[in-house]
Symmetry: C2
Subunit: 515 residues, 2 copies
Amino acid sequence: MTGTPRRPDVPHPEPQHEEPSLEPRTGRAHAVFPTSTDQDVDLATARAESCARRVAASSPAARRTWLSAVAASLEEAADHLVAVADRETGLGAVRLSGELARTASQLRFYGTVAADGAYLGATIDRATESSPWLGRVHVPVGPVAVFGASNFPFAFGVLGNDTASAIAAGCPVVAKGHPAHPETSRLLAAVAIEALARAGAPDGTFGLVTGFAAGTRLVDDPAISAVAFTGSQSGGMALRDRALARPVPIAVYAEMGTVNPVVVTAAGADDLASLAAGFVGSFTLGSGQFCTKPGLLLAPAGRGIADAVAQALRDSGPSGWALTGPIAEHARAGVAAFVAAGAEVLQIATGPAEGFGVDAVLLRAEANAIVADSPLVAECFGPVAIIVEYRDDKELAGVLGRLQGALVGTIIAGGDDPDLSAVIDLLSPVVGRITVGDWPTGVAWTWAQHHGGPWPATSDARATSVGAAALDRFTRPLALQSVPEPALPPSLQDSNPWHLPRRIDGVLHLGGGDQ
Amino acid sequence: MTGTPRRPDVPHPEPQHEEPSLEPRTGRAHAVFPTSTDQDVDLATARAESCARRVAASSPAARRTWLSAVAASLEEAADHLVAVADRETGLGAVRLSGELARTASQLRFYGTVAADGAYLGATIDRATESSPWLGRVHVPVGPVAVFGASNFPFAFGVLGNDTASAIAAGCPVVAKGHPAHPETSRLLAAVAIEALARAGAPDGTFGLVTGFAAGTRLVDDPAISAVAFTGSQSGGMALRDRALARPVPIAVYAEMGTVNPVVVTAAGADDLASLAAGFVGSFTLGSGQFCTKPGLLLAPAGRGIADAVAQALRDSGPSGWALTGPIAEHARAGVAAFVAAGAEVLQIATGPAEGFGVDAVLLRAEANAIVADSPLVAECFGPVAIIVEYRDDKELAGVLGRLQGALVGTIIAGGDDPDLSAVIDLLSPVVGRITVGDWPTGVAWTWAQHHGGPWPATSDARATSVGAAALDRFTRPLALQSVPEPALPPSLQDSNPWHLPRRIDGVLHLGGGDQ
């Protein structure tokens, strides 16, 4: 949103003022974009602040209309967006077309959640002889800074889950575009700003800033009330510490990288070929650049599972590209760290020699090497996974007890598996989601979804960046005591004009449904 | 819970190993109690950890039974508890009897909230052609450390809102007793442990530790999963920083001191005598030792309000005792800081000369002295308040815009007051609760209550320590995907054995009510 691109004359321009659009398939810069100046950032936050009260006061149904308009504009611009994103990410048109459709669907979903209105938590205790009339409703926190992810330019990008759920909750958004896809980010922002204006959203409801310096300035800005982030643990923790050091600290909802374990039970190891192909497909999907990538397979010893997975990786063909040069470098360094910590490489599927090619690597480690301070319990972002063969239930429980918190744990079990409940009990304290039989890399954007988990999966284990509860990060409760009816917000008025589900005198009442 | 008291032979024993039970009315030690050793703390957390899974797996209705048993035992021990608490706090038997009754009622209330089950947020998306079966439910976080407050030995003490809501949510509690009432804390713990055992709660569901060193050791203990704190901003922030520096950071829900503003509108200034008496009664209640004490009265100029309030304070009789010597000292220092910042003392009601007597002090400041870095915007815990007379709406809005976040704001308005909605809009960003016509020091423990607010009122503006949502601090979501019915928890089973309100395929269904 800040200036026009120029053709690159140097491959690595001055990082403070420009960011290049690099092609993973070649490693070359296609274009170079100026990044936001301090004045650009201040303007974006001032616009967000100036409209925050109007966005907060809009009805949830109005915000559903705005988000639907953005979704429709996304779909109209799909061909161009996918082409640009494919050039910038190397993820391929098929995957990116699906991701764009998903992103439009997400925008509509969060609008539906807003219009349903349960997220407002409207609660009324009518006056009694001993206590006053008291109403409680969730109000928007104010402008939100969204730091989009590298790995999903659409679904977790500047118009992804965080932006959609924040606007749905009544908060203006200033997004910080990811340097892995600068042109895609700018195009998405242009689509959103045009669509929101056409749908009647206040000017300032969405804005974009770019560049590293803009990100830190954004977090420091007193107008910003909360931060949503998807990315690395180091990035998320740096933002959290910065946000807590402000004169008025604010919440940072960081969804960070984790090692997502897969447990194969004794009865789950029967169909070796399907198990092996499924695991390889999941950990190499999108060159392993999923937050939910299964990084650790815990399999019963003596069943030939390691050999079968190695064979499946051999059969899977060559690996692909990383999104950025640093991601490819970190994946290589991560494999070296695993080997230094005692893991052995079982199989490699070589990536392209040109551009940001990255090898897919399968390693094996001993159960007793999985300990709290080892590199083996830290995420390696990319198509890299470790197999550990456990000898008995006790060894399995020991390994699971030494893992860090994770977004998701997977169980591959048999039908009527007697071990299933015990493994669920072992995984429950460690993860935010447990899947049985499903590989973890699919994340449905539905009412019941939870995409978060115990630290370090997320900075706040109560928070999710996907699913209906994603809105909850961007509201806070406000209680109104003995406020006369004419001064109450619609959510607490006697006539319930928004048809909200509400609790009155302790009793839940259903809303009237869609408005 | 650690050892037996001895008669004091020195008024200020070695702080690391003992804490005295001091009488505010005399300043003398009645008894001295040994504080927890490191081993005591480790034993308490180990017991909590060892029962955490059983407490988590108990039904909400079972936990209601446990909490009701504690409430009944409290009521049975009321006479002795009130006598001891009165000696240790100087708050008087009438106030303390009422507070004990309230505490029993709170314990029952949180049990009711648990049994209702809406706090579990049970949500089910059934499988479709394109997405898997997904269930989501809130699970207890594990053992909680509760740091009780000085000012409410019962209602916010070791069996107060935090402990009751944590156990209701399925978490064992290790409470840290406040040194202002060591004997009361130990008696309360004994009552709870006996009642919980009799009601069938697992051993370790509640434990007590005492002493400063025990508090820090508790926060550092890997078995502790969350911290609830009520007290000063410095204490709350120190605990938060310590909890964030752990290898696995945990959440600290700190409810801290704030300046709770009262706005008198032009039409609200008609009944001067009632206004003045109400304000004096509220800011001197319990020697001003309320989190919700109204510390700043914003009144229209030229209506004689300052004089009327000064008169009401003159008429109110002598002031009382602070809970501790340091609180009395801090109140005196706070008044001096206000004067140094330009405020003038309008009226003093002298406190007792003996013991921890504290003066009630009314000051006046100019509107333009209320600025962000001034001591005038910081809490002075005790019977101290400032009056600012504003000349017009613009000056009022300016002052409100420069205040820190607060627990509660109060509006004294006229009938059909044309200014009411505008003042609500000005207060909404600043506070967690707005009362119209009611003084802020009453906090109902009902479904709609919110006792929290923007920083520094609470470390997390989404959290409340009073009301049904108090449980939410102690759970986190867990999603279960494609888990077969026999391995699901009761909350997500088809037959809904706990009769929970649930959302299924996006549609809310009411629960069957009480179990």
